[in-house]
Amino acid sequence: MKIISNNSKTDKEDMRKIWEKIGDYFRANSIWMKWYCTGCGAIELPPTMTSRFDMERLGMGPMATPRQADVLLITGYLSSKTLRRIIYSYEQMQDPKYVVGFGSCTINGGIYYDSYATMKQLDNYLPVDLYIAGCMPRPEAVMNGFDTLISMIKKGEANGWKHYKENYDWYSRNQLHSLGEVYVKDEFHE
């Protein structure tokens, strides 16, 4: 049932040190997500978090601030305005950190492919560790996604944050191209 991409580095030798493995075990079993409803996929998060699907069984829970969060859920489309704030938030998060893209919009723009306000490919701006298909993904799919993310972290495959650091120039070039300026001008409208 669970399909993980074939080109992940399972066959590569596991280079992690033993304490890294232990750390990964803890990090895998206690994932705190950032409480940021970026798009419409967020409407399936309350059912996932609450009694019916009870995400806490996986050790996951929402966290109020980016500093405390481990995983950034991009729940659907990202307008350029949100993207600026997302980049801010992502950079505030503590390593190791993971990004999960929900639904069509994060992969190739989804239904808003011709919108002047939304971006199309999330992985141009942030390193994505896992995509979940659906528009929007059902809670079961979301739960399975988290489960997959957990096993990826355990195996040390969720290395998007390292990739972001190594390729920071590339990412920031893309960000600048699409956004003009990443800096959030909060006062502009007041």
């Binding site: 350029s80 305005k81 600026r84 992969i107 190739n108 723009g109 492919y113 011709d114 919108s115 002047y116 306000a117 939304t118 971006m119 199309k120 490919q121 141009n124 191209h177 699409s178 956004l179 003009g180 300026e181 001008k185 502009f188 409208h189």
Partner: protein, 171 residues
């Protein structure tokens, strides 16, 4: 329908109404010259149309006009009146109705942002509300092509799926 006719007769006797349309049995649309808008709206408000449901704009690019649509609503008889007027598309300027309906403030800001219509007297409407660092013409105008803008700014994905190389090309 009868009550709407009487409203229409009433308005007609007082104002110069250019056209009327009944899109629905509880709705009436009247066309006015732009100089009459304020007096008509004030009058409508005084006879029970106390709610401004919406203010928006339609871009009739072929005629070269912007059509402003003020929708006022009377909760007691359930009738919506669409008050419409046309502005020159080249230099769209109009006076605000904030002093009549304070709720219009953000609708005017909205129309300014998406169509570029300026509302004199509503200074705050000159600031963008939804779009941050916008660098093109107001996007709801008909001659704005969102696909082009989007393609330039946000690249679409080029898939490298297996089947494309295996079974043939994408058409």
């Amino acid at each position: 329908m009868n009550s709407m006719n009487s409203i229409y007769e009433n308005l007609k006797s007082k104002f110069n109404i250019l056209g009327v349309d009944y899109p629905d049995d509880m709705q009436m649309a009247i066309d006015l010259d732009e100089k009459d808008i304020h007096t008509v709206i004030v009058y409508l408000k005084s006879i029970g149309y106390t709610q401004l449901s919406m203010l928006t704009c339609v871009d009739w690019i072929k005629e070269g006009v912007f059509q402003l649509v003020y929708i006022v609503f009377n909760w007691d008889n359930g009738i919506h009146i669409l008050v419409r007027t046309k502005l020159d598309r080249e230099n769209p300027k109009f006076r605000t109705i904030v002093e009549i309906y304070p709720g219009a403030q953000f609708y005017e800001r909205d129309v300014h942002e998406f169509f570029g219509v300026e509302f004199e007297g509503n200074e705050i409407s000159y600031k963008n509300l939804f779009l941050e660092l916008w660098d093109d013409m107001p996007p709801m105008r008909k001659d704005f092509d969102p696909q082009k803008y989007s393609d330039e700014k946000y690249a679409a994905r080029e898939y490298k799926s297996k089947f494309i190389s295996e079974v043939g090309g994408e058409k």
